[in-house]
């Protein structure tokens, strides 16, 4: 099939950037979306043009590197699918496809479709862990975890940190990402001691990074390639309320 691509080209962080049109021909429906871009890039290189820069790595839907908004939808039209696993059979001959980077102040564009997602690491640094220095661990079976909790924790822990939730959110919020980690660790008995500080610190880091606030618009979960449930955000809110109340109680007695 033959397609028209309109791709966001931006030389560097300072450049203003613009959409540029390209024709691609003889696209096989068995190609992945990224392989289609590979073909375009090979041609651009030989024609002496700059190839399109985009992030990608594992190409099997788990590393979370690939990140492009395709026709206004992060990772494109297929649900529960990263860009690297999206195949061209989803499109039809003659289609025009718009390809843009994640757009968020907290994810500044580095070049073309490549953005800096370091803000996610910052949120994890603020408390997205359980403090368990190597060697200090008790026997694994010392603390049983109810299967339902373990399964729910796993569901949240599946987050690949790609940032599609931010790209999809009308507020540019990273609350689904933050909530996924809060939920994962909050459901494990090992995560209880740091539960209060975790939610307060991670939300503070989230805000600090320049993400927008969550207004429960519900755009994130449909865009999430792992289908992280919206309910995780409810859990974050509840933990936040409880932790804030406890903390104000503590300061009151301490004061």
């Amino acid at each position: 099939m033959n397609l028209t691509l309109r791709i966001w080209r931006q030389q560097g962080p300072q450049d203003k950037g613009r959409m540029v049109s390209y024709q691609v021909t003889d696209v096989s429906p068995d190609m992945s979306f990224l392989e289609m871009l590979d073909v375009l890039n090979e041609r651009l290189i030989l024609e002496g043009e700059e190839p399109v820069a985009f992030d990608h790595d594992c190409r099997e839907g788990i590393c979370g590197a690939c990140s492009m908004v395709i026709n206004g939808t992060p990772h494109g039209p297929q649900k529960m699918t990263t860009t690297c696993q999206l195949h061209m059979r989803t499109f039809s001959d003659g289609d025009t496809i718009d390809i843009e980077p994640w757009r968020a102040k907290a994810f500044p564009v580095i070049k073309d479709l490549v953005v800096n997602r370091g803000a996610f690491d910052k949120i994890i640094q603020a408390g997205g862990y359980i403090s368990a220095p190597t060697g200090s661990a008790p026997e694994a079976h010392a603390t049983p975890v109810p299967k339902a909790d373990a399964d729910a924790a796993f569901e949240a822990a599946e987050c690949i940190g790609c940032g599609a939730c931010v790209a999809a959110c009308p507020n540019g919020s990273a609350m689904l990402f933050t909530a996924a980690k809060i939920t994962h660790l909050g459901l494990m008995p090992q995560g209880q001691p740091e539960r209060d500080s975790r939610v307060l610190d991670m939300v503070a880091a989230h805000d600090e990074a320049g993400f927008g606030g969550c207004t429960n618009a519900g755009e994130c979960t449909p865009a999430c390639p792992k289908g992280i449930p919206l309910a995780t955000i409810g859990r974050l809110n509840r933990d936040f309320l409880a932790a804030s109340r406890k903390r104000s109680g503590e300061t009151a007695t301490a004061g």
Partner: protein, 225 residues
């Protein structure tokens, strides 16, 4: 020691939820009062006057009303302040817009909260000047609110009814997302609960809309007059 929770985006959302719920409770009482119109002018006017004397004799005349107005004003201002702060933040969080806007995956109600809120605010200002202070009412007789209402929605003043309808529908949309959102914000966290919360919000919004719209349409059709 972290900053006060209200400084955070989640804290603001909680403020919106709490103030929103206060306003919704008021809307329910207000609607129940409105429906008194179907019991006739006397009943309606009596109810209106009673509002001024709630709490009597413990509280002096109209004190309750002023306390209630203060609470509502505080709720409205808090709600607007948080909404504005979050909206400004959202704008700043996406300095470059998408060239291709995707279709809405969540709900339209959610995407129209901000404009809907502005419409509702404008309506509330008009509504107070119309039926509370009487300045914009064709009759404006404080002693006979029933008459004011009937005059308001007279067929030749169709544009008032239209504006009123638009505002009430906006409230409906606002509540459909707002109620669900408030429950989520206050910690609703299961998938099953999410479905129930959405259904509740939708049902609530529909009932409220129907209740409020029944009055002007009753006047328009001559059922009340």
């Amino acid at each position: 020691m972290t900053a006060s929770p209200i400084r955070s985006t989640v804290g603001k959302k909680i403020l919106m939820a709490v103030t929103g719920i206060l306003l919704v409770l008021f809307l329910v009482l207000h609607m129940v009062g409105n429906l008194k119109i179907f019991f006739g002018a006397e009943s309606f006017d009596h109810y209106a006057h009673w509002l001024r004397s709630i709490g009597n004799p413990l509280l002096p005349e109209t004190w309750f009303l002023w306390i209630q107005r203060a609470v509502l004003t505080f709720a409205v201002l808090g709600h607007i302040w948080a909404a504005t702060a979050l909206a400004l933040r959202a704008r700043a969080a996406r300095p470059v817009r998408y060239a291709h806007r995707g279709k809405v995956q969540g709900s339209y109600a959610a995407r129209t909260m901000r404009w809907g809120g502005v419409i509702i605010l404008l309506f509330v200002i008009y509504h107070i000047l119309d039926l509370t202070t009487g300045h914009l009412n064709p009759v404006g007789d404080k002693a006979h609110p029933y008459g004011n209402v009937v005059a308001d929605f007279a067929p030749d003043r169709w544009y008032v009814t239209l504006f009123y309808t638009l505002a009430v529908v906006s409230v409906g949309f606002h509540l459909r997302h707002g109620l669900y959102s408030a429950l989520r914000t206050l910690g609703q966290q299961t998938k099953h609960g999410e479905r129930r919360a959405r259904a509740f919000a939708l049902g609530f919004a529909v009932v409220l809309c129907a209740g409020y719209l029944s009055v002007p349409f009753a006047v328009l059709t001559g059922l009340v007059g």
